[in-house]
Symmetry: C2
Subunit: 130 residues, 2 copies
C-alpha cells in the first residue's frame, strides 16, 4: 500500500527497479538472486527494500499467490527522466546542451542511436523555427 505518490528512488531502490524492469514481475528471491550476481546481499535486505519501495509506491505487490510478486510501479522512461532532470539541475545547473556535449565527447554511440538523435534535433529545429 502506498503512503505518498512517487518520490524519486534512492540508489539502492534504483538498483532493484532496474532488475524489475528487465525481468518483469518477480519474487523477492528472484530479485535477491539477481542482486547477488553483482555483489553479496542478504535475502532480508532485499525484502526490506522491496517493502519500503512498496510503502513509497515505487513498486506494486501481488499477494494473492503463495509468495509475493513485485513489479515496478512506473515505466523506466518516466523514472529515468525524473532522475535525469534532477541530475541535470544539480550537476549542470540545467544546461542540457553542455551535458550532451560532455556525454558525446566521451562515449561511442551506435549508428542507430545517432540517427535517432539527429531526428530529435530536427524536431527541435522545427519547433524553434530554424
Amino acid at each position: 500500500m502506498s503512503l505518498y505518490q512517487h518520490p524519486l528512488p534512492t540508489d539502492g531502490e534504483l538498483e532493484i527497479l532496474q532488475i524489475l524492469w528487465e525481468k518483469g514481475p518477480v519474487t523477492v528471491r528472484q530479485v535477491n538472486e539477481e542482486m547477488n550476481l553483482l555483489r553479496p546481499v542478504g535475502y532480508t535486505t532485499t525484502l526490506k527494500l522491496l517493502q519500503i519501495m512498496d510503502s513509497k509506491g515505487l513498486v506494486s505487490r501481488n499477494s494473492t499467490q503463495k509468495v509475493h510478486v513485485y513489479a515496478a510501479a512506473l515505466p523506466p522512461d518516466q523514472t529515468r527522466k525524473a532522475l535525469l532532470d534532477r541530475f541535470l539541475e544539480t550537476t549542470f545547473q540545467g544546461a542540457a546542451g553542455e551535458m550532451v556535449l560532455q556525454l558525446l565527447g566521451g562515449h561511442r554511440t551506435t549508428e542507430d542511436e545517432l540517427s535517432r538523435i539527429r531526428q530529435m534535433l530536427e524536431d527541435q529545429d522545427n519547433q524553434n523555427g530554424q
Copy 2:
C-alpha cells in the same frame, strides 16, 4: 591536505564546488553567504564541509593569509564528466544514446548548443567511418 585522490563529490560538496567554480578562490564566509542566498546554512556547517573537501582533495586551501581561501581542485568539466559517467551507469545502464533522447525530448536547447551538438555528431560520424 589530501588523504586520497579524487573521490566524487557528494551532493552537498557539489553545491559548494559550483560556487567555487563560479566565484573563483573565496573565503569560507563568502561561500557561506552564497549558500545563504539559496537556503539557511550555518557558518560552521559550510566550514566543516570545506574542511572535509580539503581532506578529500576536492579543494585546495591557501592558509598563508589571515583567513583561509579555498578553490576547487579540479575544473568543472572534469568533475561533471565523472559524475555524469556514474549517473549514466547507474540510471541508464550505460546507454548514452537513450539518455540523450530522454534529455532532448524535454528540454529546449539554444541554437548555439544545437549547432555544437551537430558538430559533435559529425565528428562521431567521421570516427565511425560513416
